[in-house]
């Protein structure tokens, strides 16, 4: 009986003990670095370095739920988008109608898909399959999708372990072909916190095309209630 108790206790302890040998939890660190609950975003779509279109967006987030409100250009003003992890909707002010959107559809004529912008947490969608120390503080991480419902099967991230932020992200299809790359830039705000200030998305299948996103007034926390991130609220 005593032996059974000791074995049971060891099993329980082993299950709860952190695995130090595996190193830092990079996926959670990335999620944390990219997590903001509010930002004013300007999105610019370029082809051959010529600006084709732009959007000005107010971005709200609460955990895995995200909402975007379009404030410019005038033709898109009043449009809203909401993602609640398994659903995506768009509110059209012209007709006061909400339409449901496919999750993998391209985001309003940009190099990003709806899922890229309304992205879920890395730690939920991916598992770390490898890490390689690069120069000084840079670590290259290799991520694999947990299931086929995730947009990209493999992701390689260049992680700055000193600042605790991702610098570059490469997304691959199931065939192994590079589909998209994202470059991140950061800025320190007045409160001393490091926030993402720029995101450059390149569609590698269209070499001359890129989407730039500028982030301003970022906040780690905002006060909108959970009901603000529901379909009913999107219509109000």
């Amino acid at each position: 009986m005593k032996t059974i108790c000791i074995i049971s206790l060891l099993v329980l302890l082993a299950g709860n003990m952190p695995v130090y040998a595996a190193g830092p939890d990079y996926l959670s660190l990335i999620d944390e670095a990219l997590y903001i609950e509010y930002a004013d975003i300007k999105m610019e779509v370029y082809k051959n370095d010529k600006l084709l279109k732009y959007y000005q967006i107010e971005f709200y987030r609460k955990e895995a739920k995200m909402r975007m409100e379009f404030v410019g250009p005038a033709v898109e003003k009043g449009r809203r988008m909401l993602n609640d992890e398994s659903n995506m909707w768009m509110y059209m002010p012209r007709t006061s109608k909400v339409i449901k959107l496919p999750l993998k559809q391209a985001f309003m004529g940009s190099d990003a898909s709806n899922r890229d912008l309304m992205r879920l947490a890395f730690s939920k969608d991916y598992e770390l399959t490898g890490s390689e120390q690069q120069e000084d503080t840079l670590v290259q991480l290799e991520l694999k999708a947990k299931d086929l419902s995730v947009s990209y099967n493999k992701v390689i991230i260049l992680f700055d372990s000193q600042r605790g932020v991702p610098l570059k992200q490469e997304m691959f299809a199931l065939s192994g072909k590079l589909i998209k790359t994202i470059d991140y830039a950061y800025d320190k705000q007045s409160d001393g916190t490091l926030y993402m200030s720029e995101m450059l998305i390149k569609d590698e299948l269209l070499k001359n095309s890129r989407t730039k996103m500028y982030y301003e007034n970022c906040k780690r926390r905002q006060e909108k209630p959970s009901v603000f991130f529901t379909l009913g609220s999107l219509k109000q």
């Binding site: 732009y54 959970s226 009901v227 379909l231 009913g232």
Partner: protein, 367 residues
């Protein structure tokens, strides 16, 4: 007009003290100019022009957890550039109060957003869209509403006032959001009539499928008798009729998409009734929408678009199974930041309308 003035006054009275004590204000405005030229082959060709100006103003203010907004959307319209054919109306004019983002009250003239169908929305008792231009800014209706939001759905109560109390309509709607699924159930009481509705949609990675339908004990359409005589909607049997729309929209890739929608209306014309109806054309032509007189209608569209969403081409087709009428309606849309041009055409086969082709160009400017 009298009723509109009443709402404006009621809204203003409720608003002024709130505005005076508000902790924050937000005023936004927008102006949209739409000019449409249309040519059809009626009477050896007829050209018509419509110009619309929509001024839109939104005023929002907050006092603690109470927020309120005033929405005004006017419509100044002119037909064929004639001096005496200019008119003004309010598309929307309503006040809304919200408490803790969870309770919402609205009063005034407001658009209803019911139904997941793209072209046809049987659950929306009041608003019928133009299936050839689903993006039209629709006119609102007079209503009082209360909405309670909870984390997985909402409950909506509506009162649609009329001149006489006995003509008021009432509605209750429950909306639920689950994993990839939206579901709505609605009940509407209209004079002595009732309507029960459902609306369900499923969102996949690359497609959306939906079904929307009602069971109602009234009809809004005329019935055609054996001799071709017309029976008015109010004289039709008050048995329950079914109206249902099923559809699917697929996004194949960034360039290609397709949509199919089919509608069944039990109280519309059968093949035999369509033949009787044709005997009295064009006299009874105004009774029905010429694209869909029969019980069963199909819509299919294929869309090719630019990767950057600057332009798209849609090949749309409507088929009325009971009358065998086919309409092909190509549409080209070109967008540049604040401007949009739409070029569309309709070609009728076995037309029940007064014309066989119709072409239009529409220019929208947003400021």
């Amino acid at each position: 007009m009298k009723r509109l003035c009443y709402y404006v006054c009621a809204g203003a009275i409720a608003w002024l003290p709130l505005l005076a004590n508000a902790q924050s204000h937000d005023l936004s405005y927008q102006v949209i100019l739409e000019s449409k030229g249309q040519y059809d082959d009626l009477d050896k060709g007829a050209f018509s022009a419509t110009s619309r100006l929509y001024p839109i103003v939104t005023l929002k203010s907050d006092i603690g957890e109470l927020s309120n907004s005033l929405q005004v959307e006017g419509s100044l319209v002119n037909y064929n550039f004639e001096k005496d054919s200019t008119g003004f109306s309010f598309q929307e004019l309503y006040t809304r109060f919200s408490w803790k983002d969870r309770h919402h009250w609205a009063v005034g003239k407001k658009r209803l957003d019911w139904g997941s169908g793209m072209l046809w929305n049987p659950t929306n008792f009041y608003i019928q869209k133009d299936p050839f231009r689903t993006q039209n800014r629709l006119e609102g209706i007079f209503l009082l509403s209360y909405t309670y939001l909870f984390n997985t759905g909402s409950l909506e109560l509506y009162v649609f006032p009329e001149k006489e109390l006995e003509d008021f309509s009432y509605s209750l709607k429950y909306n639920y959001t689950g994993e990839r699924v939206d579901l709505s159930l609605s009940f509407l009481s209209y004079r002595k009539h009732q309507q029960l509705g459902y609306d369900i949609s499923y969102g996949g990675d690359l497609f959306i499928a939906y079904s929307e339908g009602v069971f109602r004990n009234y009809s809004k359409s005329y019935r055609v008798g054996e001799e071709g005589g017309l029976i008015a909607p109010e004289n039709r049997s008050s048995k329950f009729y079914t109206e249902m729309v099923n559809g699917i929209s697929v996004s194949f890739n960034a360039y290609l998409g397709a949509r199919v929608e089919c509608r069944f209306r039990e109280d519309y014309l059968s093949r035999k009734e369509v033949n009787n109806y044709k005997k009295y054309m064009p006299l009874n032509g105004i009774i029905y929408d010429p694209i869909s007189v029969g019980k069963c209608n199909l819509f299919a569209s294929a869309e090719i678009k630019d990767l950057y969403d600057r332009f798209n081409f849609q090949l749309r087709s409507f088929f009325d199974v009971n009358s065998n009428q086919l309409i092909i309606a190509p549409l080209f849309v070109w967008k540049v930041n604040n401007f949009q041009v739409e070029l569309s055409s309709m070609i009728f086969n076995k037309s029940l309308a007064d014309f066989h082709t119709q072409t239009s160009i529409l220019l929208s400017c947003h400021f």
